[in-house]
């Protein structure tokens, strides 16, 4: 939730920003806020800490995929394979669990890496459109998942690590410490920015919003059972993603490649190497999502992750990432994942006819982007 922070660090804050621009900057957040308020009216269960904790656990897999997908889309590509990779890596985890925890997890991540390398190889070496290469991977990985598992779900052995990751919580005390640390970091970064760039409205606003968001999360988790471990992983990946995009050359090159690949190449950016990195990142994140999903459901399903790629793309795009590449943020994708997650949640809480759920979901995805576009247009 602290993307506001980072984009401010990026854009500088000492020029005057109109309220229209602010509206635009936060349009996706506003959409989320509106949905949040509606959800509150729809069901009194919605704003319960337990339910909100559930939502964060439910969106973790999609959220992690959306981090990788955003990075890929930033370069102007797409990764349609992630859903199947979630399924396949779950099977790999289940198959290798006998060799011990660390080897199993390593094997799973390596499987993700190999898939990423395969995608990257065809994309960078032969210039095959990412859409096709990863569409191919979608069926290839699914085929391997089915073949390796012979089509059956494979249970995970009971294992303290898997259980904790899948459904455990950090103790309330531990959770409190995490929140204190995060709040400290936020305040430190916020004030450093304020000092460096002057006290402008957006800088203050983003500090307040980030702290508010953090407070909300703290309330949710601390008044239920603490932070779920898988949310901790998810949160770590989100922060890592934000850091990568804003603070490292790799991140900036992704924007550059998507913005103008030729210019990036002529400026000495190794376009192919960075594309390799980003597709590997996406697949490895899908492998992590596969691990999380498998521990969460307790066994690996070869059909797991079906269609997840579309939700991940939707999260990224709802969050303002341009499919043409060059524009987008992880924070936006996170909000997008929340919008989709809350949507699924309230459709269930409101006991909507399952057929109508499809219709609503389609309408709301369109509406979320619509809101975003309308604000952008006003600018």
């Amino acid at each position: 939730m602290n993307t506001g922070m980072n984009s401010v660090a990026l854009n500088g804050a000492n020029r005057k920003i109109s309220s229209g621009e602010l509206l635009n900057k936060y349009s996706t957040l506003i959409a989320l806020g509106i949905l949040f308020i509606i959800a509150n009216f729809v069901s009194s269960h919605f704003a319960q800490p337990q339910n909100l904790t559930n939502i964060t656990m439910q969106i973790a897999v999609n959220g992690i995929l959306a981090v990788g997908m955003t990075m890929v889309i930033l370069t102007g590509g797409i990764d349609l394979g992630v859903g199947s990779v979630v399924g396949l890596t779950g099977i790999v985890l289940a198959m290798t669990q006998g060799y011990g925890l660390v080897p199993a997890i390593l094997a799973t991540l390596i499987a993700g890496m190999i898939i990423g390398l395969w995608n990257a190889f065809f994309i960078t070496k032969f210039n095959i459109p990412p859409f096709i290469v990863t569409l191919g991977m979608m069926t290839i990985a699914r085929g391997f998942a089915l073949y390796l598992s012979e089509g059956s779900a494979m249970p995970l052995e009971t294992n303290r690590f898997f259980e904790a990751l899948g459904s455990g919580y950090v103790s309330i005390g531990g959770s409190s410490i995490v929140f204190l640390l995060l709040a400290g970091a936020l305040i430190w970064i916020g004030f450093r920015n304020l000092k460096r760039e002057g006290a402008s409205l957006p800088a203050i606003l983003s500090l307040v919003l980030s702290l508010g968001g953090l407070g909300l999360f703290a309330w949710v988790y601390l008044s239920y059972q603490g932070i779920p471990y898988l949310v901790l992983v998810f949160g770590g990946i989100v922060l890592w993603g934000i850091w990568i995009l804003n603070k490292t050359t790799f991140g900036r090159y992704l924007y550059a490649i998507g913005g103008n690949a030729k210019a990036a190449y002529l400026s000495g950016v190794n376009v192919k190497a960075n594309l390799v990195k980003v597709y590997v990142t996406s697949s490895v994140l899908a492998a992590i999502a596969g691990i999380i999903m498998t521990t969460r459901v307790g066994s690996a399903d070869p059909n797991g992750g079906n269609m997840f790629e579309l939700d991940a793309v939707a999260a990224a795009v709802i969050g303002g990432t341009s499919l043409a590449g060059g524009y987008g943020t992880i924070g936006g994708a996170l909000i997008g994942a929340f919008i989709i997650g809350i949507l699924n949640n309230i459709l269930i809480l409101a006991n909507v006819n399952p057929y109508f759920q499809f219709i609503f979901k389609g309408l709301i995805i369109t509406a979320a982007v619509l809101l975003d576009m309308k604000n952008k247009k006003k600018q």
């Binding site: 854009n11 050359t249 550059a256 210019a263 990036a264 000495g268 060059g326």
Partner: protein, 501 residues
């Protein structure tokens, strides 16, 4: 560079070119569109890596084999490309240091933003650019972006700096700034290769010239030893007796009349265009002069229905009031507009010459059901290829493969095919070689003889002076003054343009 040969599929772009630049000089590289200037420089700067061409590059006597642009930079060679190579979504600082970011923890690639912003600030101050390092490049105008390109090249601290048509989008004052910098660099021993189609600039800034023609070098001389005419002859291989072959016509009836024309800025701060009033007669060339950003493009875009901001005011065509909301309306009323950026808004680059030529008049060439009459289309394309002497392998050649001048002729063909009453030319000769320029001027003469009313926007004052019957000077969205052909001079125009009257 020695014995350089470079082939593209179907064309030999460079044929055994040998080319030398001496330390600390400004060498002007001249030639027609498609002569191979940019290609030669791309080889020098590692864009076309070693192995994709024949011949050797020698820097300080040592043979260099660049695998990419990074290698060339390491050897002290920097280039400002003919096309802008910036990333719109990134900030100025990010663009300048793209690929060379100062890092805190090198192997991790963590960017040292403080360092980067400080260095950028210093560069911007040196070029006296009023931006902050964190401003997004997409918010800058094309000329300002060009200045960022220059800043980027300077940041490399190269020994050899290639400038490929750096001024095509710069304002006069920006050009002056650039020349100051070039002079500074020259005194500090930097070798510069300067490519331009603007003769004035060549004579102002360069020490020596080298001319390329059809992929071969045809000569080299010190600037003092050549005259302008000699240079032109060397470039195009024939005499051009008159650079501005203006033929005066007796103007006919008023074709376009604009009154009280204003447009509010969509951002809400003030007017883009304010109370514009002018008229154009049949057979007349009205030149629009003004500084960059004075609103000329906005005015014609608005008249053409292509500006997002809504405009009020009266527009009459041949005495009839018209309302133009989209380019479609404009075309229906007999207006045609050659836009200032042919690649971005003039051509569909992956379509053929024929398809581009017919694009704006396709309705006329097709039946009511929308079936295209192919023979008529082919005929149209051939007619204009012939009339404009467009150099192309055929009507079905893809326009992307044509040289700049010939691409521009295709754009003009497209608009002539709509049989316009009013032809708007926005920077019609930008980036075009002398030979092609003259051909376009001759075309303007032919059109005026046929009674077409021509509006010509140009930032090259000699061109406005040479080709217009009347000159309107714009400043900050208003018409600052009108000058007849006889009273117009560079000084009088500049006075109106800068408000110094």
């Amino acid at each position: 560079m020695r014995g350089i040969i470079k082939d593209f599929p179907g064309v030999r772009a460079l044929n055994n070119v040998t080319f030398t630049a001496n330390k600390g000089e400004v060498l002007a590289l001249l030639g027609e569109n498609g002569a191979g200037k940019s290609t030669l420089m791309k080889i020098l700067s590692g864009v076309y890596p070693h192995g994709t061409y024949e011949g050797d590059i020698l820097v300080d006597g040592k043979t260099c084999r660049f695998a990419n642009t990074r290698d060339a930079e390491a050897a002290g060679i920097a280039i400002i490309h003919q096309e802008l190579n910036l990333i719109p979504g990134l900030s100025i600082a990010e663009n300048i240091f793209l690929g060379r970011e100062p890092k805190k923890v090198s192997p991790l690639g963590i960017i040292d933003w403080n360092q980067m912003h400080k260095d950028t600030q210093r560069l911007l101050e040196r070029l006296r650019l009023p931006f902050r390092p964190t401003d997004l490049v997409s918010t800058l105008s094309v000329g300002q972006q060009q200045m960022i390109e220059i800043a980027k090249a300077l940041s490399i601290n190269a020994d050899i700096l290639v400038l490929d048509e750096p001024t095509s989008a710069l304002t006069e004052s920006e050009v002056e700034k650039l020349f100051e910098i070039i002079n500074e660099l020259r005194t500090s021993g930097v070798t510069m290769i300067y490519i331009s189609h603007k003769m004035d600039e060549i004579f102002t800034i360069s020490d020596r010239i080298t001319v390329l023609r059809d992929g071969s070098s045809v000569g080299s001389a010190m600037i003092e030893d050549v005259t302008r005419d000699q240079l032109v002859t060397l470039m195009v291989g024939r005499d051009i007796s008159q650079l501005f072959p203006k033929v005066e016509q007796t103007p006919g009836d008023v074709v376009l009349k604009v009154e009280g024309y204003s447009a509010k800025s969509p951002k809400g701060d003030g007017y883009l265009l304010n109370d514009i009033e002018f008229q154009v007669r049949a057979g007349e060339v009205v030149g629009f002069a003004g500084l960059m950003g004075s609103g000329r493009t906005e005015l014609v875009n608005s008249l053409f229905g292509a500006l997002e901001a809504k405009a009020d005011g009266k527009v009459e065509i041949e005495g009839q009031p018209v309302s133009i909301r989209t380019p479609q309306d404009a075309i229906r009323h007999g207006i045609a507009m050659v836009t200032e950026d042919r690649k971005e808004s003039g051509l569909v680059l992956n379509m053929t010459v024929k398809e581009n030529t017919s694009l704006a008049s396709l309705k006329r060439l097709s039946s009511r059901l929308g079936v295209i009459n192919e023979q008529a289309e082919e005929g149209l394309a051939r007619q204009y290829m012939k009339e404009l002497r467009t150099k192309t392998p055929g009507s079905s050649a893809v326009v992307n493969n044509l040289s700049g001048g010939n691409q521009q002729k295709v754009v003009i063909s497209k608009w002539l095919a709509t049989k316009p009453k009013v032809l708007i030319l926005d920077e019609p000769t930008r980036g075009i070689d002398v030979g092609a320029k003259v051909e376009i001027y001759q075309l303007i003469n032919k059109l005026t003889a046929e009674g077409v009313a021509v509006i010509m926007i140009s930032s090259e004052l000699p061109e406005v002076l040479g080709m217009s019957d009347r000159i309107l000077v714009m400043r900050e969205g208003t018409i600052a003054g009108e000058l007849s052909r006889s009273e117009a001079t560079q000084e009088s125009i500049m006075q109106y343009a800068t408000g110094g009257v």
